[in-house]
Symmetry: C2
Subunit: 340 residues, 2 copies
DNA sequence: ATAAAAAATGTTATCGATAACATCAAATTA
DNA sequence: TAATTTGATGTTATCGATAACATTTTTTAT
């Protein structure tokens, strides 16, 4: 590979002069600047970012860790983060943890050893605490997205999840439903806990009592094995007339399972969920959901992150917490109960 | 940040000894190995990948460039690439070019200056040629995915696109359709060209004549402005009874536009497309498509890439070309014509 | 014209790690 | 036991770039 020394030799100057031309620092005569530029072109010079970062002690490289690259919520979020990063002159790379704290840890190691300037993390769950402590210990700024991790203070962008859960339940009760089930993410994820809370509060406000049998806690990620959903559906007695799903993946799994049993949605059973199904849901606007501003999660989170990075030397600001609203989008997957 | 020198000092050995412990090279007594390990733990040592890559001249870092991170075809592909990379001990980072050759160029610059060991590229189009030449010139191995670029020989993983287009047209004709339109990607993308070819061949084989007015070439990416689709729909006379869409995004756009006009799919007009709509399409299996093995694109491409990287010193092998089959999945978006 | 200031360029050390070679002590062999 | 091998560790140079300081050249001021 061509280095600044090759250029320096070819142009008859010192490496430092080449470095100055590249970075537009110091004083350089127009003549040598032109000559150096020309040689750089001729030799197809590409700067070595690693060597550069090694001495500068900063990489202008940021990372975004998401938990499911096939989930439109996260990919939309990624677009927002990307746009904000580009605007500020940072490069952004993505990592996909697959809802798996182990994989996430590997990415954190990569991030630490790549000496990234900062990270945007949608943590896999409470078990992420140890990696986040690792980032903190090594002084790598990070902003949490969508989920909090108990025991770790930081900047964070959240959705108004509890309120979202309430709205969904309210919507269902307004349609006459009284036996409303919840299929939720694992309790090791903060957003799942809030959804359960919101669900319970809304039940109470609607004078419905909370019944444990109507709640299933399942992993957020798509799996081939739907047997726990199957047995849960069998177990509820009397069966619910509506189901709230804790995220888009679970909504899909539930509906698939129901279809497999010949149960029609919403005719036989209503289903509502969290997060849109991506642009493709527009083909046939079906699922009634709480829509979160996915793009904003990424955009605002990235802005906060970069502010943290650049204010590093000044005295530390208090942690910031952005809560984005949750909007109910009524479509067709929840129906009025006939006899209510 | 803690370096091997800090560890060396603390453990009372030389930096080289620490390096040996880290890499398990050379001979080290159990006693010092244990001591060094202990100090590394205590100080939370994390190796600096940049310094390491600088001397080793390899980074064990690979990149995947895709053109649309919100498209399930590419995210599924990404999962495959990720799995294959991990299996071989490489780290994988993602970049999103947004179907934009300029953004793609920025990523290529990043890749070059990061001294990545190789790249998997789904090129934005024929205009990608110059960046690919840049990669080639700098001796960075790459494998193309899904699209070829004229003028650039390389390893490549393709779908059997032309055959796919034929199957779609055959399916429609078997349902009685004779006026079949095509909304396709821009001709600057190789896969779009093949789809057009396949479409024309299939028409001929079915004794239908090719009529230019039934073909629209549009950008693959999602846009807010649907006016060209609108005017195209208006212009066709007599209107088609079926539309083939060149990819999933276009299929969605067309169906949205049709819905906006009160035209029902498939009752009033049939629509078929390329590529699945992700896991979410399973809620309501609607769109009849040619399904490509997205995961395999990524997995096999990554395997080829790594083989290239690791065989680098031995004599060069001829370029390889993998063509993955295209499977027709009949769902509900194309209907039998009543009067045929 | 000459000192002083400013501009242009060069030298050396450094970032954190590893390769290649050097050294020293312990173990083995003759 | 002296000679030799082997094991364990240390030293130095290097990867490609930049900061800090040093030097040379040019310009400006007196």
């Amino acid at each position: 590979m061509v280095t600044i020394y090759d250029i320096a030799a070819q142009a008859g100057v010192s490496a430092m002069t080449v470095s100055r031309v590249i970075n537009n620092t110091g004083k350089i005569s127009d003549k040598t600047r032109a000559k150096v530029r020309r040689v750089m072109e001729e030799l197809n010079y590409v700067p070595n970012h690693m060597a550069r970062s090694l001495v500068l002690q900063q990489s202008k490289l940021l990372f975004l860790l998401i938990t499911d690259i096939t989930n439109p919520f996260y990919t939309t979020l990624a677009r927002g983060a990307e746009d904000a990063a580009k605007k500020q002159g940072y490069r952004l790379l993505f990592g996909n943890s697959d809802e798996n704290a182990e994989k996430e840890k590997d990415y954190v190691d990569t991030i630490l050893s790549t000496r990234a300037d900062g990270v945007l993390v949608a943590p896999a769950g409470d078990a992420s605490l140890s990696h986040l402590e690792s980032l903190r210990r090594h002084n790598v700024p990070f902003v949490l997205l969508d989920r909090e991790v108990p025991g770790m203070d930081s900047d964070v962008v959240l959705g108004d999840t509890k309120e979202g859960a309430r709205k969904l339940v309210d919507h269902l009760t307004s349609l006459g439903h009284r036996r409303i089930a919840l299929i939720n993410g694992l309790p090791a994820i903060s957003s799942a806990r809030l959804r359960l809370e919101g669900y319970r509060e809304a039940l109470k406000l609607n004078d419905l009592h909370y019944d444990e049998q109507y709640v299933l806690e399942s992993a957020f990620e798509p799996k081939s094995d739907l047997s726990d959903i199957e047995s849960w559906l069998d177990s509820m007695d009397p069966p619910p007339t509506a189901i709230v799903a804790g995220n888009n993946v679970l909504a899909v799994e539930v509906i698939r399972t129901l279809h497999g049993r010949g149960i029609r949605v919403p005719d036989d059973l209503s289903v509502v969920g969290f997060d849109d199904l991506g642009p493709y849901s527009e083909i046939d606007p079906f699922l009634t959901v709480i829509s979160q501003q996915a793009y904003q999660f990424g955009y605002l989170g990235m802005q906060m992150l970069i502010e943290r990075i650049e204010e590093r030397d000044s005295l530390p600001q208090p942690w910031r917490r952005i809560v984005l609203p949750a909007e109910l989008i009524v479509r067709r997957s929840a129906a009025q109960l006939p006899f209510s």
